[in-house]
């Protein structure tokens, strides 16, 4: 293996890595995909399990929760790497103070397919104005590509992946090629009417879940178990969609349990492969390729680059600019209100969680007029209805027969609304290598320095007030209110640490995710975003990975790499 030279080596098998593998192999290139975790099959998922099927009712052993975190402890996902164990994958935070919470690097996966196995499936295009936000409000930098550059790839991704949703004609979330939408639940109809009275248009979350047969994949059967993986590939994942297509070309080699440590360079400083640790034997190995694509997820790709120190790249690979690791953001939740819709109290309990998603009020701030206190904007998420567990039980008082009755009556009537906002990218929010700490494979870990901006807090003020007004308009009885920003990292939409741009002095990558510094190195995951908008990022990550892979293949063909 070590002697063979591949055309392209792709690190990571999630959304970006899977797409790169598909597109590059279909262009005829010999591709090796390295995945840090073990393999997994659709048939491994326990999708129809009930809590009582597990000793700890799905939640996990408290001891494991303590050691490896609540996600890794979950019993519906009993395979290694579906969520990583905190004890094996440590990270550190610089001290924080005041309302600033430390970065929480959560939701990580090391398994074939990465986070596409359990992602939220929400799929939105960025708006035309998102690509030139800096020109509009003067903060930060514009993207080095336009909506027009990416639009054909949004089309291709939607045709390929299969995304259900309503067309709305709203510039904030441009329409695309959608499968027929899932019908609204009761609470969604009621909130939608309330939103309309506030002058907002609510639409169903657009999700990469099939509402009918699509390219050989069966439709969703509404079991509502998406978080535990899909046993039939009805929602998009690398193992259900991109990797099988890459395998069909005969050009794909898959190497699982390969934890990449660093990018390796030749005697002229050009990329010639990577070194990795075999996850099981912990032996270090090398593998060679003409081109390396990092798609390990924003922070893992950044960590690999920062750890790739050589005499040619003393500050880490692709870091002549000094911005590698900087401009870290994650979307945030800005306030949450939970309430009960009187019309639905005592109605029949169904399975409102079967379609496994809710609704969405797209961004309305700073579109025409400018808000005096903050720039950019947020969307409102609308979730609710009856699900397998009555989470509202803790929000109401009492005990006894009356308490039991109340839990049941309210179950179908509970609605939760929260805002999902754009965090501004600033140089002072960054990661670096912590030389004191290594992970279970001896690789130095990341240290986080995260700073919120005043803009985040002003956005919270506005969002919280509007959440309250929306629930008031819907006539909801309020059960709980939380006016706070989620911890950075908590939304698992990390972006910005390998930002793209036209100027090599202020950015890491060009508009095709190619490193300014080394032409045979690409970083195709969410790290390239120079501003984060407020839409869920995966559809855009897929579109960028497709476009960048087309570019890479063309450059490869003409010998320009």
């Amino acid at each position: 293996m070590a002697q063979r030279e591949y055309d392209v080596l792709v690190v990571g098998s999630g959304a970006a890595g899977g797409m790169a593998a598909k597109v590059l192999t279909e262009h005829g290139l010999e591709v090796l995909v390295l995945e840090a975790g073990p393999p997994v099959k659709n048939t491994d998922f326990l999708t129809h399990a009930m809590p009582y099927d597990f000793p700890f009712r799905g939640r996990g052993n408290p001891r494991v929760i303590q050691k490896d975190g609540p996600l890794a402890a979950r019993e519906q996902t009993p395979f290694s790497g579906y969520y990583t164990k905190e004890s094996e994958h440590p990270y550190t935070n610089a001290p924080t103070s005041g309302p600033q919470k430390p970065y929480k690097w959560t939701g990580r996966s090391r398994i074939l397919g990465g986070r596409t196995l359990h992602w939220g499936r929400q799929s939105f295009r960025l708006a035309e104005f998102d690509f030139k936000a800096a020109s509009i409000d003067g903060f930060g930098v514009d993207w080095p590509l336009s909506y027009g550059d990416l639009a054909p790839y949004y089309d291709k991704v939607e045709d390929y992946v299969g995304i259900q949703g309503f067309k709305e004609g709203l510039p904030q979330i441009p329409d695309g090629r959608f499968l027929p939408p899932f019908a609204y639940n009761c609470f969604e109809h009621l909130i939608r009417k309330a939103a309309a009275r506030k002058g907002w248009r609510m639409t169903a979350l657009r999700t990469a879940q099939l509402s009918r047969y699509h390219r050989g994949r069966p439709p969703c059967h509404y079991c509502g178990s998406c978080g535990s993986g899909c046993g039939i590939g009805a929602f998009f994942s690398s193992i259900a969609v991109t990797l099988p297509d890459a395998a069909k070309t005969g050009k794909l080699t898959l190497l699982t349990d390969a934890v990449v440590r660093e990018v390796v360079v030749d005697t002229e400083g050009r990329v010639r492969g990577v070194s990795y640790i075999d996850r099981k034997s912990k032996m270090e190995r090398k593998v060679r390729a003409k081109v390396v694509v990092l798609a390990a997820g924003t922070l893992e790709s950044t960590r690999i680059l920062l750890n790739s120190v050589s005499r040619f790249h003393p500050q880490g690979m692709a870091n002549e600019s000094g911005v590698l690791g900087h401009y870290l953001t994650d979307h945030f939740t800005a306030g949450q209100v939970i309430g009960v819709l009187p019309e639905l109290v005592g109605s029949k309990i169904r399975n409102d969680d079967g379609k496994a998603n809710g609704s969405y009020i797209p961004r309305y701030s700073n579109l025409g007029s400018r808000h005096p206190k903050f720039i950019r904007g947020y969307a409102i998420m609308v979730k609710g209805g009856s699900s397998v567990f009555p989470r509202h039980a803790d929000l109401i008082g009492g005990f006894g027969a009356g308490y039991k009755k109340r839990i049941k009556e309210l179950h179908p009537a509970v609605v939760r609304v929260y805002a999902r906002g754009e965090a501004l990218q600033i140089f002072d929010s960054y990661v670096e290598i912590d030389p004191e700490v290594v992970d279970a494979w001896g690789i130095p870990v990341l240290k986080f320095h995260y700073k919120r901006t005043d803009n985040d807090y002003h956005m919270l003020d506005d969002a919280f007030q509007n959440l309250q007004e929306l629930m008031h308009e819907a006539g909801a009885e309020i059960l709980s209110e939380d006016k706070s920003l989620s911890a950075p990292g908590r939304i698992i939409h990390e972006m910005g640490t390998t930002r793209m741009g036209e100027d090599p002095r202020t950015s890491v990558l060009n508009q095709f995710c190619q490193a300014h510094e080394v032409s045979n190195l690409f970083v195709m995951d969410g790290g390239c975003w120079p501003s984060s908008a407020c839409q869920n990022p995966t559809e855009t990550i897929l579109a960028i990975a497709w476009r960048s892979s087309d570019f890479l293949a063309e450059q490869f063909r003409t010998g320009d790499l």
Partner: protein
């Protein structure tokens, strides 16, 4: 959801049509069903001979009594027949020493208050007196000296009881009548036209 249900075997057959490439497509229902049967069999073996692994038998009885007061039997089973106390004991046996100690003290405090007020063990009080005592605990101030931190214990006890009950077969199926985790042919959505807006 009232939508038409497909028989599981038919569903698997239908899904297999789409199988391709690297990944063999198959419903995971059999794996889940196997897990369920296993858990049920294990539970049946345990039920007759259950012994607490963390609590003393006396503390387990206090816990079972308290849990039944929180979620009592009505026209559906209560916490005791859903064996809520057994699940809480299992979880407690894996908690940290600090959490274990706190919970044990909470149970002992209930008995202490019972002796103080009624000069009897809590489990031997009438249901009315048990309820009155729990009510006092529920409405006491956090860390009130007389209640000995009762409020916090009540919250913890209720949270554990609710979790164990509403994740049990009794709670999910008999009490709530939850209809999910099934294979449905279509997504019907809201069946009440009165809730729908004027579609535009």
């Amino acid at each position: 959801m009232k939508g038409k249900q497909i028989r599981r075997r038919d569903a698997i057959k239908t899904m297999a049509v789409g199988s391709s490439g690297l990944v063999q497509l198959m419903a995971s229902a059999p794996a889940a069903a196997a897990a369920r049967e296993l858990a049920a069999a294990a539970a049946q073996g345990v039920v007759a001979t259950w012994k607490p692994s963390f609590l003393t038998p006396e503390q387990a009885e206090i816990l079972a009594t308290l849990a039944e007061l929180i979620i009592p039997e009505t026209d559906t089973p209560g916490a005791r027949s859903a064996r809520v106390h057994e699940h809480i004991d299992l979880v407690l046996s894996h908690e940290t020493g600090e959490v274990q100690q706190g919970f044990r003290q909470g149970l002992e405090e209930v008995d202490r208050l019972s002796q103080l007020q009624f000069e009897r063990a809590f489990v031997r009080l009438s249901p009315q007196r048990q309820e009155a005592l729990l009510d006092r605990l529920a409405n006491s101030e956090p860390d009130h000296p007389e209640a000995g931190g009762g409020h916090r214990f009540f919250r913890d006890l209720r949270r554990r009881t609710v979790f164990a009950y509403y994740t049990s077969q009794e709670g999910i199926h008999q009490e709530l009548g939850y209809q999910g985790k099934q294979v449905l042919a279509e997504w019907e959505g809201c069946p009440h036209p009165g809730h729908h807006g004027d579609e535009d």
